[in-house]
């Protein structure tokens, strides 16, 4: 019985065995048409559907033969009294959304195949005697759809009551509370007391599916979104539906686990609190989190994300929709990178090397450290090697490289950055740095030569380099070895976000902001420039790389007058030809998901998301 996994249509359409096509990521992007079946596939099956459903209109007192379409090439119909013109094959949910009618749904997902098993999206159609599922039914010419009739409302109530029948009383301990479709739809479509007498069906409350995902089978409403996702998007069919009736559960196949690099997307698309991230679980209530639109820095793909934060800590990344880059998905590798924003950060400036492990280093005010760095760098002008990390943003690189070129007299830049990894078959690229393209463009624009990191290692070993200015201390090679080499440097000014063996060897260590702490932009692997927004003020004493460069520059007699990353981009971005067509302000993602009603969780005391809590810093004296 438990092998009965093929009873769902999704189980039949087995994609090629997992991991079989190891295309390059770029090729994968190219082969996307097969991925969003919602749009592409609908063109054909709807035609098959419309054949049986189209005849009913003629009996409805219409002249013989289907009427000619009102808008040739499109389907014109009426939803809740409003006329809507859509492409043939568009389903009712999408069409209704265009005219502002919300059809509720659990199992439907625009990027997945249609299952039509939740029955929440049933609406009244003029050409059908019974309610029809809005997700599965394409629109037909002249059809009249009603989404708010008593019949539809009663259906929605019934579905909600049915789904809640065996749902555990878990909101108080459930991570999904606050972003749960059951909660939202209960308040909108049901709002009735329970009529259940007797107990609820008990299932496994903590079924560990894989290294990152845990399942609460009691909360599951068997919408099969996760199963379809694993089958269709990463094409790694690791989940299935087992059992039947009240014993129906989502599970992994015997002997295997949910270990795909895309497994956490199932947590996102789970409409209820059944699939949970083991990392995020029990760490924050979504009501208390605020979200800032940002970009993932885990690899050069540049997946669009929301960084969910509370106070000055990021709690998770969620994918943000972008048709050109990541659709609605992101990889587990990228999601885990938020941790570097919270822990192991360089929070204050340090002057002097660390003597052995465990010894305290003298922390100084940033101003003091800037003075020390300026003094040290002034002595070695022209002989300073510059190490730039492609983890830094365009604004950071523009400012620091301009400083390196104009004030330090550098002509070539050594490229640092995180070591290369392995690309996977979908989104993750081998280059684990978010802004290599940006670094290349900026170096080109400023007329600086880029040299590989190995050259710097050789130069250090050969004793040719005695002074180093590092923007970001991520290095592609072995950090320990490079740190030992760096220990021999006379001057090593490092601007770093995170501590590493290398930062311990800096003669002056300056704290730099991470990307969620200021507004900026990255250039992802395909050359798209993507803006990200500030979530919260920088931790500790940190400021952006660009601000450190400005401070250093002023200390050394330069004229860097930038006071914001925006100014940096507007002033210095002109030198980079690729940035010419990029409107820094207009390209910023909206800081609320929608204008007007903000669906994002509110803060603990009912206050709106945190970005409003930090105004322009105008504190003087208090």
């Amino acid at each position: 019985m438990s092998d009965n996994d093929t009873k769902k249509p999704t189980g039949d359409a087995q994609p090629p065995p997992k991991g079989a096509p190891t295309d390059t990521p770029a090729a994968k992007i190219g082969s996307q048409p097969s991925n969003p079946p919602a749009g592409a596939k609908l063109d054909t099956p709807p035609a098959a559907h419309s054949a049986p459903t189209a005849p009913p209109p003629p009996p409805a007192a219409k002249p013989a033969g289907p009427p000619p379409p009102k808008n040739p090439g499109f389907v014109t119909c009426t939803i809740d009294g409003k006329e809507v013109v859509v492409k043939p094959g568009t389903n009712m949910i999408e069409a209704a959304r265009m005219v502002g009618s919300d059809i509720p749904y659990f199992c439907y997902h625009p990027r997945l195949s249609i299952a039509a098993n939740c029955r929440m999206c049933m609406v009244e159609a003029s050409n059908a005697p019974k309610l029809v599922p809005g997700c599965q039914t394409p629109l037909v010419e002249g059809q009249v759809i009603k989404t708010t009739t008593p019949k539809v409302k009663e259906q929605q109530r019934a579905v909600m009551e049915f789904l809640l029948l065996n749902h555990p009383v878990d909101c108080s301990i459930c991570d999904q509370a606050g972003e749960c479709k059951l909660q939202d739809y209960y308040m909108r479509y049901d709002y009735r007391p329970s009529r259940l007498e007797g107990g609820k069906v008990m299932k496994n409350k903590r079924k560990v599916l894989g290294p990152r995902v845990v399942l609460d089978q009691e909360r599951c409403i068997i919408c099969s979104r996760c199963v379809r996702f694993m089958n269709e998007i990463p094409k790694e069919p690791q989940l299935g539906i087992f059992g039947r009736g009240s014993h129906e559960v989502i599970d992994t196949f015997p002997g295997s686990e949910l270990n795909s690099n895309y497994s956490l997307n199932t947590v996102d698309i789970c409409p209820v609190g059944a699939l949970l991230s083991r990392d995020f679980r029990f760490r924050a209530r979504s009501w208390f989190l605020s979200a800032a639109p940002s970009v993932c820095t885990g690899c050069s793909r540049g997946c669009n994300i929301y960084a969910d934060f509370m106070a000055q800590d990021t709690y998770r990344y969620r994918p943000r929709e972008n048709e050109a880059v990541n659709k609605s998905w992101m990889c587990d590798h990228g999601r885990a990178t938020y941790k570097g924003l919270n822990t192991g950060r360089v929070l204050s400036a340090v002057v002097g090397r660390q003597q052995g492990t465990g010894t305290a280093r003298p922390e100084v005010a940033r101003k003091e450290a800037i003075q020390a760095a300026a003094k040290a760098l002034s002595g070695v002008k022209g002989q300073v090697a510059v190490l730039a990390s492609p983890v830094a943003s365009n604004e950071d690189l523009l400012a620091t490289l301009t400083f390196a070129k104009a004030t330090l007299g550098a002509k070539e830049i050594y490229v640092g950055g995180r070591p290369q990894g392995e690309a996977d078959h979908y989104l993750l690229t081998a280059d684990r740095n978010p802004n290599r393209k940006g670094l290349e463009l900026i170096a080109q624009g400023l007329g600086l030569a880029l040299k590989p990191f190995e050259d710097l290692v050789k130069a250090l070993d050969g004793g040719k380099v005695k002074a180093l200015y590092a923007v970001g201390t991520e290095v592609p090679g072995n950090v320990e070895t490079f740190a030992q080499a760096a220990a021999k440097l006379d001057v090593f000014v490092a601007q770093a976000t995170n501590e590493s063996p290398l930062t311990a060897q800096a003669t002056v260590l300056l704290p730099a902001s991470a990307h969620v702490e200021f507004d900026g932009s990255f250039v992802q692997v395909d050359g798209l420039i993507q803006r990200f927004r500030k979530a919260y003020p920088s931790k500790g004493d940190a400021v952006g790389h660009w601000a450190l460069a400005a401070e250093l520059s002023r200390e050394m007699g330069g004229t860097a007058a930038w006071t914001s990353s925006r100014e940096v981009f507007r002033e210095l971005g002109k030198q980079v030809a690729a940035f010419a067509g990029f409107d820094w302000d207009k390209s910023a993602p909206p800081d609320r998901e929608k204008p007007g009603i903000n669906p994002l969780p509110t803060a603990a005391d009912g206050r709106p998301p945190g970005y409003r809590e930090f105004g322009a810093p105008r504190v003087r004296g208090i």
Binding site: L164, H167, P168, V169, D170, C171, S172, A177, G178, L182, Q183, Y186, M187, D190, Y191, R192, P193, S194, L196, W287, G596, I597, N598, T602, D605, G606, R607, P608
Partner: protein
Amino acid sequence: MADTHKPVSPPTPEAPNPDTDAYAHEAELEAHLQTKRMYVNMGPSHPATHGTVRLKVELEGENIAEIDCEIGFLHRGFQKSCENVTWTQCLPYTDRLNYVSAMMNNFGFLNAVEKLIGLEIPERAQYIRVIGSELHRIHDHLTCVGATGMELGGFAPFLFAVEARELIMDRVAELTGARLTTNFGRIGGMNRDLPEGWSEKVIKTLDKVMEHVNEIDGLLSRNRIFVDRTKDTGIITAADAIDYGWTGPCLRACGVDYDVRKVKPYWVYDRMEFDVPVGEKGDNYDRYLMRIEEMKQSDRIIRQALQQIPAGPIILDDWRIALPPKPEVYGTIEGVISHFKLVMEGVQVPAGEVYDCTEAANGELGWYMVSDGSGRPYKVHVRAPGYPILSAVPHIIKGKLLADLIPTFDTINMIGGEVEQ
């Protein structure tokens, strides 16, 4: 003070200043009677005024030549606070508007929100709101009348007023759980019913309170000193009062019959038999009399309401509006969802705007609200009745005696909490 307001006659530098210039001493020997304007700060903390307001008074002898009200000492950002919490969480903020009659603010706010949603609250809840409002109207007027008496030199009326207030506060505490900041009522009805035996207690309390009111009436209304200080002082004509936007007892003292309870009966005021006292002159004495008479009318209303109040639910049975009963919250998923959503995200008030008003102790308490469809107000404008009334004080008092300022300021019953939001 970076006021743009200029002194009426700035001392010219050439003119000798008898106080500072050495050569003026000679003139001083001749007992010069050079008139000189005197500047007096009344408040923000002054023994003869209640309410934290600074009156910058420019005196010519005993007469007030110029006066400027500086308000805002009690500004708490009421509107900004409301915009950032759920609709229900606004309720405690409304307590602190007119803190002498908190319930009337609560109910006025709720009435406007309910109008915005389009709710009809249960009948019993409407009666409770009327009873609570009228209790607090007596409470408010007692405060005003008592303080007026005290500031004009009569301490006994104040003690009677405070004792009566104390009795009302005890009843209010039994009803709401708090003496002053009641936070009573919820969107869609009330959060708790009348306690057992409370109605009988209220009747007895009212007997006692009215005894005290009559006592105060007897002590003040024909008291020579009191009448001399209040009669024909602080006069405002009906036309001026209307132009300034006066409402409530202060407007009625001018002879204008405008009471929201009669004109646009809300809740069950149309079932109550009561009279609206109207004055003649618009002086301090009339304003005082209005309050004495209104207390007697409120007493009538409460007695009628307690007699008529029907049994039944006190809050709507709609889990989108009202919190589910606790057993449902603890035991069923439906209840816990509703509870969580209502507490965390608030009652979802459909997008729209509304202006609604009720008759508070000092006049028309108006609310203009804008909702963007979420659980938090987009805008909550409160038209505190005291605000326009206070704004007319310079007009009333200019050219009059400084001593008239005290009764005038008393009888307009300025409440810092509502005026300064």
